[in-house]
Symmetry: C2
Amino acid sequence: MKLTGIAHICQDLKKDMQVVERELSAAIETDHPVLNEAAHHLLRAGGKRIRPIFVLLAGKFGDYSIDRLKYVAVPLELIHMATLVHDDVIDDAATRRGHPTVKSKWDNKIAMYTGDYILGRSLSIVSRLSDPEVHKLLSDAIVEMVKGEIEQIRDFFNWKQNLRRYLRRIKRKTALLIAVSCQLGGMVSGAPERHVRALYHFGYNAGMAFQITDDILDFTGTAKQLGKPAGSDLRQGNVTLPVLYALNREEETKKRQIHAFLQSEGEAVPIDDMVRLIRNSEGIRFAQALADTYLSKAIHALNELPLGKYRDSLKQIAHFIGERSY
Amino acid sequence: MKLTGIAHICQDLKKDMQVVERELSAAIETDHPVLNEAAHHLLRAGGKRIRPIFVLLAGKFGDYSIDRLKYVAVPLELIHMATLVHDDVIDDAATRRGHPTVKSKWDNKIAMYTGDYILGRSLSIVSRLSDPEVHKLLSDAIVEMVKGEIEQIRDFFNWKQNLRRYLRRIKRKTALLIAVSCQLGGMVSGAPERHVRALYHFGYNAGMAFQITDDILDFTGTAKQLGKPAGSDLRQGNVTLPVLYALNREEETKKRQIHAFLQSEGEAVPIDDMVRLIRNSEGIRFAQALADTYLSKAIHALNELPLGKYRDSLKQIAHFIGERSY
């Protein structure tokens, strides 16, 4: 198994992350050919597995047992995967005589149900743990994530949104599930309550930094690093922090250009011009500074935890998040 | 509150069904405007509330407590609602029960996330109960329903499917959640295991009859009764029991017409001609006979339960399912 950057930080977890990987694969296994193929395809596409890693590391602050922790690590990654699939479901299918073709309808629908399937499986796995608080935290996290996604759609091309609105959106969309990953890892292992709280705060702030970094990389990364063209967020109307800052703080001509782009829903200005404009704007620097602030808060939260290599690992991951290029 | 046909059968439940109705409304309440409107819109559109009614009736065979039963009755109805919204994304349905669908009022993505939101809320409510078996049964039911939905999509316009395939699909799509409603009502109330089993069997068979009747009504009902045009299932390619039977058993010219319709994905023959053809075919009578068989099995399963008015109510509902015109 290929370990990604974050996993390298904590070699101790290697064996247990392989357990998680096997259980992920087993979790989505079904004799249902379409679902099986769609879900495994998604699993193979990989990812940083940041949520399971946080679960396991957080578990080290209590009575660590991979046999219990896997019942939250696996569902958390599955929930993340499910939201990714639903995020990818597109509205406009190829049409024939004004109606979507059966084939193009299928793809969207199968993507939607694949997400539902993975979500259902994830909750089925959590039910191996008898603590209803775990279920509640997970289902509440799903509810918040959905709100974040809907807010994002509503705010596509919205040039009137403010910083607070952006922050609330990424909190729901990303930070909460990472916070809950840290929290549950501690909780399931019976870590002391104040450590569990510290883990939650760490996860929340690291999650905020993670999403802001993602939003920066969408402009500064190369297509190869990102696995998709630069500016993909903006192309679909997602007004992220660098854009928001530039829209409010840049010089007048640039402001007008961004405004024209958003108001025309991407028609008035070529996307490549916009990407260049944002990339060279103060927006990137401002966003980086805010990401750094969240990282400092994350690292500060660790002070509540006992010293040791697992606390160091969490700190290193926080630094990795701030410096990563993918 | 307006009580629907089934609720009239058991007047005793009126007050508790009002509790369920209030809790349903409270469950989806959110300060999030789009979600709030979309979800309440869906709730107001109503429905038979057959799942909560089964939960409450099943609860009567144990230590009945609405304060516990509502934590399964409400989630079960919410899960049903969530699948309806996702079903509408799939179907491109413009109306359901005579009201515009969430999808047509907003768009595909909002509909998808409204379904996700309702699903998340439903699971959050179940977590008030500490029995992990309840969570497992519910999430497994979600997984099976998704499989049923995917099977339905895959089998759109498929003229090669057989009866077994149809039955497996409606089992997953409809019968299992109704079976689980009866099962959980009994379980949560601590009814004896063999009664819980009988309730499950009752629900399963009643659910099969319910879906077959639905599939018949799609041809025999009026647009007003159905709240959507007759033949809506077939229009989108859903090959239900009356069609399946006609396709295999009708005289050669009719068979050829159905075959041409399916093979051309609805292009070669006007849908109204198809609806008329099926409505006047033996397929309707055959489907009715099969629905009756399932109803007999459902009523037979009741023999395991103690005599009394609640067993009578279940029996009456089974009869209602067979005779309903909406």
